[in-house]
Symmetry: C2
Subunit: 376 residues, 2 copies
Amino acid sequence: MVDFTVAEFETRMTLAQAAMAQAGLDAILLCTEAELRYFSGFRTQFWQSPTRPWFLVLPRDGAPIAVIPEIGADLMFRTWVRDIRTWASPDPTDDGVSLLVDVLSKYGKVGLPMGQEASLRMPLGDFYRVHEKSNVEFVDCSELIKMIRIVKSDAEIAILRKICGIGSTAFDQASDIFHTGLSLSEAFRAFKIALLQAGADDVPYLVGAAGQGGYGDVISPPDETPLQDGDVLMLDTGASLQGYFCDFDRNFAIGSATDATKQAYGLLWQATEVGLQTARAGVTCADLFHAMHTSLGGGSSNVGRYGHGLGIQLTEYPSIASFDHTVLQPGMVMTLEPSLTISKDKMMVHEENILITDDAPILLTKRAAPELPVIG
Amino acid sequence: MVDFTVAEFETRMTLAQAAMAQAGLDAILLCTEAELRYFSGFRTQFWQSPTRPWFLVLPRDGAPIAVIPEIGADLMFRTWVRDIRTWASPDPTDDGVSLLVDVLSKYGKVGLPMGQEASLRMPLGDFYRVHEKSNVEFVDCSELIKMIRIVKSDAEIAILRKICGIGSTAFDQASDIFHTGLSLSEAFRAFKIALLQAGADDVPYLVGAAGQGGYGDVISPPDETPLQDGDVLMLDTGASLQGYFCDFDRNFAIGSATDATKQAYGLLWQATEVGLQTARAGVTCADLFHAMHTSLGGGSSNVGRYGHGLGIQLTEYPSIASFDHTVLQPGMVMTLEPSLTISKDKMMVHEENILITDDAPILLTKRAAPELPVIG
């Protein structure tokens, strides 16, 4: 299980150490899946089990230190990390606390992601104990981590390009898979199989909806309702490959579509087109948001943003939103995701995945049809 | 999207309120996927996105209060929760903090899961702000939540029985799916498809390994190594249905197996048999561990436990371990998961899922063959 070269991890570590030096941090403590994987290469679905905490310490000087349950030692030894300290977890009396305190105690100021999008994936009670016993000063380092992860390497981009291609291949089979009478639940299951058959490792995320001329929400699991003539079926997939996500959706009219529905689809497609024309290095996320928002005629939306970063998480920094003034850089991988409220309980969304360059962005997904596809 | 009756949620809430009264808590704050879903019925894969925090407050008196991003309002309205307060998230200046403070400020002592297996799925910085502004006293309520969730209702058991049956059906196809020359990566993909075709909603967890006469670890993703004659292939699946997991593994010898390998398999099967004979209401987890451990001849293991609870998470309380003195009760759903170290880098595991009763446990999985199946 080696997703990247050692050189790639050394680069990530060097960037983190330079940022630590600048921020006056002695080390960084990480305890979440994405961050541990990004800096160590430790990839496992075992995070589904909430039982055990996992820690990675990045010192400003020196090599990363993994403080992990013994059950993960074999897998961690296959990464580039060489300083691996384990304990027999779960241990209700001391679940890694002493080991972690040993590592942290020699530091003064330790970064921990505490800002937007961060979680503390360890018991809060144990965190308090670590804080007290190690006597370090914990400071937020969300921004520092974000600015490293936000730009993808060529190796990361290659995987992202593949998984977006796999998603596109699966959506190309829509007219063979979806038809009137098929329950949404069966439609989801069939599409997950199509994604796996197209080469996805996993489908950690598939949400969607179907409704007459639009849908009420965009984060639901499927129910047993059969697809009907006039429905717009939307599927939004985060399939994954080597732990990297695609995140895009497609809309299909089942049987037929009204002019109003076709028009709403066209508006969203056009807003994405504006996004594609606008997104490039030097432009801010807020600029990009406003360009797309203007294209939509200032239509309101409860989604709050028109896209986001994409990588080892389904959604990453930054947000394409009026409040986000992050400047786009070459190597950022983003979703463009305009949304449109049609009526009180009806909306439509549309999404593509792109790679930011100094020039026009590179589409990682196969561009959606300019007119709403009618199938089934 | 209605997985359970309102009566079921009312029962869960009543149990929580009785426990709060006994513990002197005014309310409980929840922010993690499993806990929000357990008490509200809010089920979505949108938790894959780390961007937005989600909160559910259970008052000791009165109905639950959801404090959630607007994007989840439609789905939350389809649950039994009626008091739903939303904001346009993400909001970098105030991501639900003020709304949550409004709800919490009237309480004195608020429970929050901070113990083993708990996470804080919100930015720690925002938690500190909520703590300071609401001026409530947060106390750990992990044990309280655990003791409610640990006993499954008939409706939960029915789903768990189904998903364990689906997993068993997929494993029955092993001899059609796995053969020498097939890469582990393709074996995993084919098995995920088999699980979906058998009726699973999702396969959030599939780990495993293959090696000559055993394997080095049990939490890895697959690589491109082809299956070889003499390999033991182990697949451990957490497939899910309506958000409930099965969690069990099966071992298969590819082509042939040595006597030592067959013997190790037999030892594990026998230890599970002892587990099945021992597990019943009134017995402690530690008793159950020791019975299985004795059956294995006191063989060591780096897994640290021989099973755990099962439900809306792949692993739940309690642990079948020497340190866990939880008394088994009817309605608990557990895994029996003995493991055996064969040599320094080789181990084998075996796992079944059971329902605890006053008498012999009910197998939810189709019992593994007493002798190592040779396939491919």
